[in-house]
C-alpha cells in the first residue's frame, strides 16, 4: 500500500504537521520534498471497497448505480478548436475520474512546494463515498467544429420546444456534461471542480447544478426517497436488477448505428422549479389527487401499500376515477404511454431565493436516462399539457447529452470510439 497520495483515510497517512511546518527552517524544499510519490492505488481496506463503485465497465457508472445521496452536475462549452485537443482533455479527465472514484488524488504532483498541487485537496481524508463520474456529449458537439457530424446518431437532436417549460438560457444546453454523484457532497463537488480545472483552456463551464438529496431509486434495497413536495418519488422506476427493462428502455444497442453509443444512454436534464409556497397552501387531499398517491404511505390511491400496482380504472364509491385523469402517476405511467419507460435519477435542489418574488428557488433537478431521447419527449408532451402538477412546477432548464459506452480498462478513455473509431 502506498499511503501518501491516497486520501489518508487509513493508517500511514502523510502528516500535515510535518509537511507544512515541521521542517521549517531547514529550507522550503525540504518541506516540498515530503511525500513525493508515485500514484497510490486503492487500498484493500474493506470499508473503502464498499465505498467504491468500479469505474471501468461496458456501461458508465452513475446510471444504474444505486442512486447516491448527492449530486454535482456541470455543463461545459468546448473552446478547443482541434479534435485532438478535445480527445486529450477527455483522456486526462478519464484518468482523473478513475482515480477520484477510488478515493485517490488527481494524478500529478500534489506535494511539491514549487507548483500548485495537482489535486485541489478538499476530498483528502474523505472516503470515496461511492463517487461516480458520468460524461455526456451534447448535440452541439456534433456540429462542424470537430468533424463529428457523421458520428451523430439519427435520434440525437436537441430537444424540441416542449409544453410546460419557460427556459432560462443560463441553465440550458452544453457541449459536454459531467454528472458526479456521491454520498458526500464535498466528494461530488471535488470531482466536478477538478475536471473543470483540468479542462481549462479546452472547455469553459456553462452552468452547474448541485443536488442535495436524491429523489429516485435504482437499487433493489434502497428506500424510496421523497421529493420537496413531500411525496415518494421513483416508486415505479426501472431498477438495476431488471436487465430486460434496462436493455429495452435504457441502454443503446446496435440500433443506433453508432458503435460509440452502444452500451451508452441518453441523459435528459431538466431544472424543474417547484412553487413550494403555493404547494404548501394546498390541502392534503388535493396534493394526493395531484400525484395520485397517498402522501405518507406512498400507496396509489387505489391501493394500500407503496408498491401496490395502481389500478387506473379503479373508481371511488361516488363513481369518480380514484386516480384522477390528470394525476401525475396516471399520465406518466407506461400503461398510458405505449409502454414507454425511463430511468429517473433526479435530485432536489435549492439555490437561494427568487429575488423578484421572495420565494424559494428550489425544486427537482430531473435527470433521466433512456435509449432514445424521444422517450422523454413523449412523456413530457403529455405531462406538460395535462399534468395537475403543472400548477406547481415549471421547467426552467433543459439539456440533453449522449453518454457514451463505458471505459473498459486503463487503455481506454471517454468517447474513444467516437474520436478514434
Amino acid at each position: 500500500m502506498e499511503p501518501t497520495s491516497a486520501r489518508p483515510i487509513v493508517s500511514g497517512a502523510v502528516s500535515r504537521r510535518r509537511l507544512l511546518g515541521g521542517v521549517a527552517g531547514l529550507g522550503i524544499l525540504g518541506a516540498s520534498g515530503a511525500g513525493l510519490t508515485s500514484c497510490a492505488h486503492a487500498t484493500d481496506n474493506a470499508s473503502t471497497a464498499q465505498q467504491t463503485v468500479p469505474f471501468y465497465g461496458s456501461h458508465q457508472a452513475g446510471i444504474t448505480t444505486d442512486v447516491q445521496d448527492r449530486l454535482a452536475f456541470a455543463a461545459f462549452d468546448v473552446t478547443a478548436t482541434r479534435r485532438e485537443d478535445l480527445a486529450d482533455m477527455l483522456k486526462t479527465w478519464t484518468a482523473a475520474a478513475e482515480a477520484m472514484s477510488r478515493g485517490v488524488m488527481v494524478p500529478g504532483d500534489s506535494h511539491a512546494g514549487a507548483v500548485p498541487p495537482a489535486d485541489t485537496g478538499e476530498a483528502v481524508g474523505l472516503s470515496p463515498a461511492r463517487l461516480t463520474v458520468t460524461v455526456g456529449f451534447g448535440p452541439t458537439l456534433f456540429d462542424e467544429r470537430f468533424g463529428l457530424a457523421p458520428r451523430r446518431p439519427a435520434t440525437f437532436t436537441a430537444l424540441p420546444a416542449l409544453p410546460g417549460e419557460t427556459l432560462d438560457p443560463a441553465s440550458c444546453g452544453g457541449d459536454i456534461a459531467i454528472q458526479a454523484c456521491a454520498d458526500d457532497p464535498q466528494v461530488a463537488f471535488h470531482a466536478v471542480r477538478n475536471l473543470a480545472r483540468l479542462g481549462r483552456g479546452a472547455v469553459v463551464t456553462r452552468w452547474t447544478q448541485l443536488g442535495f438529496g436524491r429523489t429516485s431509486v435504482t437499487g433493489t434495497t434502497q428506500e424510496t426517497p421523497r421529493n420537496l413536495m413531500g411525496f415518494k418519488d421513483g416508486t415505479r422506476n426501472i431498477r438495476s436488477d431488471d436487465p430486460a427493462a434496462l436493455a429495452k428502455h435504457v441502454w443503446v444497442g446496435a440500433e443506433a448505428g453508432q458503435e460509440w453509443m452502444r452500451g451508452g444512454s441518453y441523459l435528459v436534464a431538466r431544472r424543474i422549479r417547484m412553487f413550494i409556497e403555493t404547494w404548501d397552501r394546498d390541502v392534503l387531499s388535493d396534493q394526493e389527487a395531484v400525484f395520485g398517491r397517498a402522501k405518507y404511505a406512498g400507496a396509489p390511491l387505489t391501493g394500500k401499500a407503496e408498491f401496490d400496482a395502481p389500478d387506473f380504472a379503479g373508481r371511488t364509491t361516488d363513481g369518480e376515477l380514484a386516480i384522477p385523469d390528470n394525476a401525475h402517476i396516471r399520465l406518466a405511467a407506461f400503461e398510458a404511454n405505449d409502454g414507454v419507460r425511463i430511468l429517473r435519477r433526479g435530485y432536489s435542489f435549492t439555490d437561494g431565493i427568487d429575488a423578484r418574488t421572495g420565494t424559494l428557488d428550489a425544486g427537482l433537478f430531473f435527470i433521466s436516462f433512456q435509449k432514445d431521447p424521444a422517450q422523454f419527449v413523449t412523456l413530457q408532451r403529455k405531462l406538460g399539457k395535462h399534468d395537475a402538477l403543472n400548477e406547481y412546477i415549471r421547467h426552467v432548464g433543459s439539456a440533453l447529452f449522449a453518454c457514451p459506452q463505458g471505459v473498459a480498462n486503463a487503455s481506454g478513455y471517454w468517447g474513444r470510439a467516437l474520436f478514434e473509431g
Binding site: G30, A118, G201
Partner: protein, 378 residues
C-alpha cells in the same frame, strides 16, 4: 492593488533556490519524466542502507520498504542539513517512494531516526558541483537579470508619467489629469507584484477604497480617480498628488537594487493574471473611470514579459507547454485588441457581460498552465 492574501512575491519564492527539481510521480497530465535511477532502501532496526549508494546526476526515485521494523518508519534525504525528500509513517510491511532530481554532484545523507546506524552516506556523481552552474542555469540567470532591467525600465517611465498626472491634478487641469490617469498606471500594473513586495508601498499607491480602514487615510491613484470621475472636483487633491510623487520615487529607489529568483517571475506572472481575472474583468479596479482595460493589458504584458524571459529554460524542459502558453498569450492579446480605441481602450462599462466572460475565459485558460511553470524552471 493585489489582494493581501496572495502569497507574497518575496515570501516563499526566494527560498526556492536550488537545483533540486521535483519530478512528478504520476501518469496522466503530469509531464513525461526522463527515466529515473532507482535506489532501494530497506528500513530495518539496523538502519536504512541505500542500494546503490552512488548514482549519476539526474532523476532519482527512492523506493523504500519497511521490512519489519517498528522503530524505523521514516527516511529522509538531506544535504547540508536540508531535507530534500522524505517518506514517513511506513509501518512494518509498507512501502513507498519519493522522486526528485539531483543535478548537483556531491555527498548527500540518508537519515532514518531510530536505526542502529541512522545516517548513511549517499553520493551523486557527475552533474555540477555547485548550485548556480548547472546546465540551464545560464538562461535562468539571464532571465532574472532581464527581469530586473525590465522592472527598472518600467519604473523609469512610471516616474515622469506620474509626475505629468500629479502636475495636472495640482494645476486643477481635469482633462489633462483624466488623460494621464490610465497612461501613468500602465507602467505600474505590469510590475505590480514587485511593488506589492515592498510593504505599504503598493497600498499607498494603488489601494481601492475597500482596502483602507479609514477613508480619510486613503491615498494614491484611486483616491484621485474618485475625485475626478465621481466627485468631479480636484479640490483637496494636492497633498494626495504630492504623496503619490514621493511614493513613486521611493519605488524607484527600491527596485534599483532588487534581485529576483526565477520562481518569482513564474509566480508573479500567475499573480498578474489572477489579478486580471478577479479584479479587472469585474470592473472593480477602475470603478469610477472605467479604464480597466488599460490595466488589464498592462497586467497581461507584465505576465508575458515574465514568460518570455523564462521561455528558453521552459522550452528546454517542456516545449509543448511553452508552445501552448505562447498560443494562449496570443489568444488573450487578440481578444483584448478588439477593444482598442486610439492609443488606449474603450470605456469598460460599454463592454457587455458576455464579452467580459469571453475575456475571463481566455485569461483563465492561460493562467492554469502558466501556474505549472514555476515547478519546471526553478
Amino acid at each position: 492593488m493585489l489582494p493581501r492574501v496572495v502569497i507574497g512575491f518575496r515570501g516563499g519564492a526566494v527560498l526556492l533556490v536550488s537545483t533540486v527539481v521535483l519530478v512528478a510521480g504520476c501518469s496522466g497530465p503530469a509531464q513525461p519524466a526522463p527515466p529515473a535511477t532507482e535506489v532501494k532502501i530497506s528500513l530495518s532496526d539496523s538502519g536504512c542502507e541505500p542500494k546503490p549508494a552512488s548514482v549519476p546526476a539526474g532523476p532519482v526515485t527512492f523506493s523504500i520498504t519497511n521490512s519489519g521494523s517498528r522503530f524505523v518508519t521514516e527516511v529522509e534525504l538531506l544535504r547540508e542539513n536540508r531535507i530534500l525528500g522524505e517518506k514517513e509513517s511506513l509501518m512494518p510491511g509498507m512501502s513507498g517512494s519519493f522522486s526528485l532530481r539531483l543535478d548537483d554532484g556531491g555527498t548527500y545523507l540518508i537519515h532514518c531516526a531510530g536505526g542502529a546506524t541512522n545516517s548513511w552516506p549517499f553520493t551523486v556523481t557527475g552533474g555540477s558541483s555547485q548550485p548556480g552552474t548547472a546546465p540551464g542555469n545560464a538562461s535562468l540567470l539571464a532571465a532574472t537579470q532581464g527581469y530586473h532591467d525590465y522592472v527598472v525600465a518600467e519604473v523609469d517611465q512610471f516616474v515622469p508619467a506620474t509626475k505629468q498626472f500629479t502636475d495636472a491634478v495640482r494645476a486643477g487641469d481635469m482633462d489633462k489629469a483624466k488623460q494621464m490617469f490610465p497612461l501613468a498606471r500602465l507602467h505600474y500594473e505590469g510590475i505590480e507584484p514587485v511593488a506589492e513586495s515592498f510593504g505599504d508601498l503598493d497600498p499607498s499607491i494603488d489601494a481601492r477604497i475597500d482596502d483602507v480602514d479609514n477613508p480619510a487615510d486613503w491615498t494614491g491613484f484611486h483616491r484621485i480617480e474618485k475625485a475626478m470621475w465621481q466627485d468631479k472636483t480636484l479640490a483637496g487633491m494636492g497633498p494626495v498628488a504630492d504623496k503619490l510623487d514621493a511614493d513613486v520615487i521611493t519605488l524607484k529607489a527600491k527596485v534599483a537594487g532588487e534581485t529576483y529568483q526565477t520562481a518569482q517571475l513564474a509566480n508573479g506572472a500567475v499573480e498578474l493574471l489572477n489579478e486580471v481575472s478577479t479584479k479587472k474583468v469585474t470592473g472593480e479596479e477602475d470603478r469610477y473611470s472605467h479604464t480597466d482595460l488599460w490595466d488589464f493589458a498592462a497586467n497581461v504584458d507584465g505576465a508575458r514579459k515574465c514568460f518570455e524571459l523564462l521561455k528558453p529554460a521552459l522550452a528546454a524542459k517542456d516545449p509543448d507547454l511553452a508552445q501552448r502558453l505562447e498560443a494562449r498569450f496570443t489568444d488573450v492579446a487578440d481578444k483584448l485588441s478588439k477593444y482598442r480605441q486610439g492609443d488606449g481602450y474603450v470605456d469598460y462599462s460599454t463592454v457587455p457581460e458576455d464579452q467580459r466572460r469571453e475575456l475571463a475565459d481566455a485569461v483563465n485558460a492561460l493562467a492554469e498552465p502558466l501556474s505549472r511553470v514555476a515547478g519546471l524552471v526553478v
